[in-house]
Symmetry: C2
Amino acid sequence: MTTRAEATRARLQSAALDLFEERGYRAVTVEEIAAAAGVSHMTFFRHFPTKERVLLDDPFDPVIAAAVAAQPTGMPPIERIARGLVSLAPLLDQEPTAQARRAIAIAAREPDLQAGMAANTAATERAIVEAAATAGDEPAMRIAAAACLAAVTAVLLGWATDGSTRTLGELVSTAMTTVVPALAEAQVPAFARATP
Amino acid sequence: MTTRAEATRARLQSAALDLFEERGYRAVTVEEIAAAAGVSHMTFFRHFPTKERVLLDDPFDPVIAAAVAAQPTGMPPIERIARGLVSLAPLLDQEPTAQARRAIAIAAREPDLQAGMAANTAATERAIVEAAATAGDEPAMRIAAAACLAAVTAVLLGWATDGSTRTLGELVSTAMTTVVPALAEAQVPAFARATP
DNA sequence: GCAACAGATGTTAGTGACTAACATTTGAGG
DNA sequence: CCTCAAATGTTAGTCACTAACATCTGTTGC
């Protein structure tokens, strides 16, 4: 059951995506987005705190954090995070990802949005650390999260801008399986062990 | 020899720092900063492209990138970057760091500035990769840079907000020597080897 | 000295993101 | 139909940021 507010929000996001692709982020005003969605600019700001959030908002941080926290402890933080991210692959493949792909492609080529993207990554990093860090390993967790998310970001940018036909789940899994051994100097057979 | 423009720029930064500390980032207008520095708001924007850059601008990215690029190749990217950062310790200790400390302390507690801080880190990461990546190891370099910079960021925040009396050089060196073994699963005696 | 030139700054008049206060509409349950 | 609350609209701002053009200030060549 989608409420009226949710429908308005979706219309705003969709209209913004169309307009940004047509004329670029900077050249489109909030007024225009609101008009295209059939609402006033005040309604826009009731749904999104800033212009950039209509493009950059995503609801995945809690999901990612929970997936990492759900991994067993007792392994190195980097492996725990990588396993958590890989566990999301099936979900990523069933999600409708077309809009996300368009949004990332826009954000990647708009200088005005790069700070916001970096902030998104930083927020995901914080969410992982808060949800999954155990006593005393926050620093290691933060560093491991930064490393894994750097790999995921690279993969996301390629996925959105190149014409990759592979699914997000595949790409993220590949990135994690290649990246974790690289970080661990190839000694830890991270994904050779059984996945429960 | 400091030019008039450099003096104006310095006055603007100093005035902004004072005002932000006094009343918070949001409550201070660009007009007020300009007035406190004895110039008009147009002059402010000739020296800083946005309000947040008066606080967040720093000239270190090229220095950091060069320091990493100056490290010998043939070692794992993470070790190369860590060595590059540690090589900057003497420089960090002779730099006048009081203003940087105040700026970071402000940025750390102001939500409006967190995107800008993340963008700063991302820019440093890009600078390192562009300057120091060799054929084929860009992905690994990016990930290693993200990991090292996560550690440095944590150290910087602690240094600026806690009342640490240790120097930046000491703190960064400690972070790198503790962090690199952690990432490499403690097998690589990164800093036991001779430093040329 | 002084003329001339360029770098630095000022003035003015905008646009557009964002906010506050208050009025209005819309839709679901009684 | 009525009512109430969620959702949206109107209005009138503030402030970051920009463009175009005027003025100033210090230096350089004479």
